[in-house]
Amino acid sequence: MTDTVLDILSWVLLTLGGISVLIGGIGALRLPDLYTRMHAASVTDSIGAILVIGGIMLQAGLSLATIKLAAILLFLLLTSPTASNALAAAARLAGNKPGIDTTTDKDGAS
């Protein structure tokens, strides 16, 4: 009984996580410039990672694997914003001005 409930819950989380990753991907293609695309990509980074790893943790049950998954999630949530900051800082240094014109894609930022 509890197994079925956990299974269903886990699949709900995995499906929602998959949808978030998909939305992040669609956003990275549709949005106009580097900075707005990074906003879309951060949907994948944050809520996508939380939901998918949460779903796998429910599948793994109470085991060492779950502890390792929790550590992976923690490190992902600590490092992915750091990487985003480095990317944004590099783009600014390279002269990519944010938020002036969000209708064109002439700088080919992606």
Partner: protein, 173 residues
């Protein structure tokens, strides 16, 4: 508000040696715990990657200030809970924009004064801002964070300062 305490020890001297050793020992212990395998190749790779990590940490000046700057506090857990709620809310908002037909954006760049926070807490705030979809920390210098927001509402919510207050509350004595 008391000033953040950073005790700069003698830069780059022998005083750091025990800190280096402790740091490398911690890294190796973590590697062995996670891998759980004791083949010579894997142990060698582990020692190698720990040494590289230590070298990078030295280059980044990790040992020039306090070594274990990340103080853990139970109030961090409560902050994570609040942050999770914010991540869910702003993810739904960004998803709505991404899937909307006309992609109506109102991007905005704002500056947030976080000079009241310690350097570690400024990093926590900057990373939390980046972690919530729709807001992105572009730059941090002199206690000021430059933030890019996807919507004017997101920028306004950040300027209102709830996240800043919650970060400041974590290490309030």
């Amino acid at each position: 508000m008391k000033q953040p305490v950073d005790k700069p020890t003698a830069p780059g001297g022998a005083g750091h040696f025990s800190a280096y050793l402790l740091f490398i020992a911690l890294l190796i212990a973590a590697w062995v715990l996670w891998s759980g395998m004791f083949k010579p190749l894997l142990l060698g790779l582990g020692v190698f990657s720990c040494a590289v990590a230590a070298l990078i940490a030295i280059r980044m000046g990790y040992f020039d200030t306090s070594v274990f700057a990340l103080r853990f506090n139970l109030r961090v857990i409560a902050f994570w809970g609040w942050l999770l709620k914010e991540i869910v809310k702003s993810s739904l908002e960004v998803a709505r924009i991404v899937l909307s037909r006309d992609l109506r954006l109102s991007t905005k760049v704002i500056e947030i004064d976080a000079s009241q926070l310690s350097p570690v807490d400024q990093v926590l705030l900057g990373n939390s801002i980046t972690l919530t979809p729709g807001t992105l920390t572009l730059d941090a210098s002199d206690g000021r964070l430059l933030v890019h927001a996807l919507t004017a509402e997101g920028a306004a919510a950040l300027e209102e300062g709830e996240m800043l207050r919650r970060v400041a509350a974590i290490h309030e004595d």
